[in-house]
Symmetry: C2
């Protein structure tokens, strides 16, 4: 009998994306008083196959019982731990247009261990105004010139770029200089950053375009 593998505890991105969905489902089950859950139940809730769920849970190192299922609350704790939800990750949002406000005001970050702590913009009309999640304290919008100081003072590692495309690269340079290591890029352009910095691009226009191309292909067929 070999010990459970302790080596690389690297979660695939696809798994990380599903774990919070399992957590939400597990919390509901726990409230409903359920003690155990099958991979198939979680699978149905998240819209994947049971095999995916079992594979995901094998990564978090939490074991179910063959023939029975998974213990609901232990499993939820394990998944929480795998996601590192004990520590709060602070982030800043640069660009307080509609998209920036949508993120600043999103109420679902707390349960994911995330928190927006700073808002930045160049527009003098916006600077000094307040925005954010009304359930927490509203945040004052600060000028970009305060960004570097703020990031180091508040030990922020994650930034969201929600500026127009033209400003995105210069904001990224600023963020990197300030010590940010992870960037969510909502602008439509590719950002050049050092290898030590991780960028995830999300472009809603591109997502819709993918839908449109497939829709056109289906119509044609």
């Amino acid at each position: 009998m070999s010990l459970p593998r302790l080596r690389r505890r690297e979660l695939p991105d696809a798994t990380i994306a599903r774990l919070p969905q399992y957590i939400r489902c597990l919390s509901q089950l726990e409230n409903a008083g359920l003690q155990t859950v099958h991979s198939a139940d979680l699978a149905a809730h998240v819209g994947v196959s049971g095999a995916v769920v079992r594979r995901d849970l094998s990564y978090v190192g939490s074991y179910g019982t063959r023939g029975v299922g998974y213990p609901v609350s232990e499993l939820r704790d394990s998944v929480n731990r795998a996601l590192g939800l004990a520590t709060e990750h602070r982030m800043v949002v640069v660009g307080v247009g509609h998209m920036g406000r949508a993120i600043a005001g999103y109420t679902g970050f707390a349960e994911r261990g995330l928190r927006v702590v700073g808002l930045f913009d160049v527009d003098p009309e916006l600077i000094g105004a307040k925005a954010g999640n009304p359930a927490l304290e509203l945040l004052e919008i600060l000028p970009l010139s305060d960004l570097a100081g703020f990031v180091s003072a508040h030990d922020v590692a994650i930034a969201v770029i929600a500026t127009p495309a033209e400003a995105a690269q210069s904001v990224a340079d600023l963020l990197v200089g300030a010590g940010i290591t992870s960037i969510l890029n909502l602008s439509a352009v590719h950002l050049s950053v050092p290898d030590s910095v991780v960028v995830r691009p999300v472009d809603l226009a591109t997502e819709i375009q993918i839908l449109a191309v497939h829709a056109a292909a289906r119509e044609r067929k």
Copy 2:
């Protein structure tokens, strides 16, 4: 010598996502008077390798010249055609919060062959108000009860769900009933729809969570 393969002209999603970036770059080069471009140039602009660019362009069936490169304007036309940019794809946005407004007001859709033609919400305070891209005509926000009629009357195939999680599934049901075939789901929950309907989920909180988990892993190391 075998004819160029005419069979499945299916573009991979990853390729579809990059083509608009090539287009933007090609337009710039064309304005600058350049006649030809190397795969490496496009690659640098988009942040991928030259091999990816060549593979992508081989899908669109546009041929460069070995030893020389690609003809800029012919290539742009080919890419435009591959993306089906000649026909305009109409879409509706359901949920006119910050996220919905960000999409309704986005000015980059036109160059991608996309257009928001309808806005819908349940909030009586919002219904009747106007929102959208100020460069075009502003759109009146309509009640959900108008959705089905609107979709069939205006031949809309694509919808964006930008509602809170609780409303998302019922909105999806409504959209499917109305004949929508493609949905961009910005809510955090999985949507159940018939196989004939394509859903692309985009959850910004999840994207940030992926960054946070990786950041935590790097710190730990």
